[in-house]
């Protein structure tokens, strides 16, 4: 399945302005961008856990890849994840029930995916993989 299809679901949910829809838009927006990132990293040769552990792994890899655009995309993804946690677990939190904030989350996800999509060529993936592998070497030599 193409994770970008979650964006369409999020768009469909925005046809109705109600708290449950808005919260779900945050969730689908995050997972669309997250899974596009997973595909990018897997395409560059990295094994990404298909479990909750994968979220931290994606942050660590992308946040240390040495390519500023991707490091900024990681930070935006982490911010979106923080809002996704509020939307999914904090039922007292009203901000994630507002239509405009859900719409912003969807737009942010689209922007993040656009950045990831600009790194899908083999040459860009090689640069990213080199940055991540350099980081992993540093980590391994320090431990």
């Amino acid at each position: 399945m193409n994770p970008r299809d979650f964006l369409q679901i999020a768009n469909d949910l925005l046809r109705s302005d109600n708290p449950a829809n808005s919260r779900t838009v945050f969730n689908r927006s995050y997972y669309a961008a997250y899974n596009v990132c997973v595909d990018l990293l897997k395409g560059a040769g990295f094994k990404i856990y298909e479990s909750a552990a994968g979220h931290g792994q994606v942050n660590n890899y992308l946040g240390n890849c040495g390519i500023r655009d991707l490091e900024e995309a990681q930070m935006k993804l982490a911010n979106l994840m923080s809002q996704r946690i509020k939307a999914d677990y904090r039922m007292h939190e009203p901000s994630v029930e507002k239509y405009i904030n859900a719409k912003k989350a969807l737009k942010t996800s689209e922007n993040i995916i656009q950045i990831f999509d600009s790194y899908v060529s083999n040459s860009e993936k090689k640069k990213m993989a080199k940055g991540i592998n350099d980081y992993l070497k540093k980590i391994h030599s320090a431990s």
Binding site: K76, N79, M81, R90, K98, N101, S143
Partner: protein, 137 residues
């Protein structure tokens, strides 16, 4: 630890340093799942045998984050913070919650400029332990 309510004591950003000074010092330990360093709050996972102490200087970055928010979000109405917690992974971070007024695309642009300067200025993993949650009011 039961969800986020215990951690979600919203505070004025100016009081973050005092309020959380005994909670947000970070320590690192190799995570066996992928053999990489990982940071936790010192009061977070005390039973983890892999923990070993190392301060990663998070506190100074909270004040910097507030300065950056005021620089990049001209219509900021309120800044507060809470310690957020992911019940799926047990990870914690400081969520800086910003309320702004303005057009959605403009706010997204402000967020982009904030993230750009944040990433350029704050090292990983500290920057990943402070996350922006920007709400349009």
């Amino acid at each position: 630890m039961g969800g986020g309510q215990g951690f979600n004591n919203a505070l004025n950003c100016s009081s973050i340093l005092n309020a959380y000074s005994n909670k947000i010092e970070l320590i690192g330990y190799p995570d066996e799942r992928w053999n990489m360093p990982r940071l936790v709050f010192i009061d977070g996972d005390e039973s983890d045998p892999n923990n070993y102490g190392m301060n990663h200087r998070l506190i100074q970055y909270l004040a910097f984050a507030e300065d950056l928010i005021r620089k990049h979000f001209p219509s900021v109405d309120r800044i507060s913070s809470s310690i957020e917690y992911n019940p799926e992974t047990n990870d914690k971070w400081v969520s800086i919650d910003v309320e702004v007024t303005g057009d959605m695309n403009q706010v997204i642009e402000w967020e982009g400029s904030f993230v750009k300067e944040w990433v350029a200025s704050v090292p990983y993993p500290e920057r990943n332990k402070i996350r922006l949650s920007c709400d349009i009011i």
